[in-house]
Symmetry: C2
Subunit: 241 residues, 2 copies
């Protein structure tokens, strides 16, 4: 009332993200993994009590969920829509103000390949997306709509294409990569591709966040898309810009 239609309220989500410790926690969870409270506390640089409160705030805001398992309590992002929204938010902050100087090994690895919640990101993610567009598997440089050839090709790789197209969430979505500033494949199909890469052992999680392209994964990528793995663990592009 009062002349206000009572529309969207950003207060809860905003407050949840306003504390540096909570922002760090959410940033860690954006790779889609579930992590115990203690690890999140260490990563955020706060004590256990503070971390517990922070996590309670994040849960109340609907951003993360907690599941007790044994004497640990694992926290993860609440869902794909949360990951989408956070990714869109992160794309605002500009092309990574720090970086450039003294990039750590871990940062290199993240830039090369990582999970963005449930789909592949980093150079690997944008590379695959662009290769799919080049081969006609996905249509529209920005939009990444699945073509019939794409459905056939991905099905041949063991990707659960039919499950992805039947899912409630959008089949494909373009997700702006914050290291590459180019889009990669998200949505249900992106998740299916990511799951296939993990199940088949084509990528493996490194000790930190970030992914390593295994030898079998390199072979698959090379044969299917014509992409050559680079010495630094990333991948180079033959003809593309």
């Amino acid at each position: 009332m009062g002349g206000d239609g009572r529309d969207r309220d950003f207060t809860d989500v905003g407050r949840a993200l306003s504390a540096p410790a909570r922002s760090a926690m959410v940033g860690l969870l954006m790779d889609g993994t579930a992590r115990p409270a203690g690890e999140l506390a260490r990563a955020a640089g706060v004590g256990a009590p503070a971390a517990s409160e922070h996590l309670a705030v994040l849960v109340a805001a609907g951003l993360v969920t907690g599941r007790a398992r044994g004497r640990h309590r694992y926290y993860a992002l609440a869902g794909p829509d949360v990951a989408d929204a956070l990714e869109a938010l992160g794309a605002l902050a500009g092309p990574v103000p720090v970086a450039g100087l003294r990039r750590s090994r871990e940062a290199d690895r993240l830039a090369a390949a990582r999970f963005c919640y449930d789909h592949l990101a980093g150079r690997l993610g944008v590379g695959l997306a662009e290769a799919c567009v080049a081969r006609g598997w996905l249509d529209g440089a920005d939009v990444l709509a699945l073509t019939d050839e794409g459905a056939h090709g991905l099905r041949g790789l063991g990707v659960d294409v039919d499950g992805a197209t039947a899912a409630r969430r959008p089949t494909t979505r373009a997700c702006l990569d914050w290291t590459e500033r180019r889009v990669h494949l998200a949505g249900a199909l992106g998740a299916a591709v990511g799951a296939r890469f993990l199940d088949a052992g084509w990528v493996a999680r490194t000790s930190g966040r970030g992914l390593r392209l295994t030898p079998s994964g390199q072979a698959v990528v090379r044969e299917t898309w014509g992409v050559e793995p680079a010495p630094a663990g990333g991948i180079t592009w033959p003809g593309r810009a």
Copy 2:
């Protein structure tokens, strides 16, 4: 350092949205209009000094920009990417917790037609998007890729299709409507369509936020897409679900 790759930081944006007054201001600006500080102060329910500080915070976070014009100072969202991110954020909060009982006239109008930053939203927005998909002008129910027929058809309506495809931002984007829970057309093409509707006088801004479909607009919509205007100012769907 310290094992942290120093990635995305949500702190600034989160803090900017954490205050109810700032959230209300941003919510008002999401229709793409520029409004003077005093109006935003009144809408947020705070005094002029507080509003001024709040707006300074929003500007510092990169969410809004302020332009002095005469003795007024007009504030608006900083850009389409900001609107996109906020729309994604708003989609989290669930299907409008309040609503249902005692919906104000203004709320009805907003649900019928409104601007979502620079493109059409509400029942009008999702209706047009779905009609375009049904006619083959846009491809993929979720993705809304522009087809050749769509480019031709929209060009015939006076929409600046070529300007939209040449723009830096994605040509088409699917934007989840928070009243309808279905997607409507965003991106450069969505903005071009919205601009055309406004320029041609097919829609007009009402006293509040929200849009009114003019008689000429009703005619265009009916002839082009076969959509009938509803008595409540919305539009009804002949054959579609």
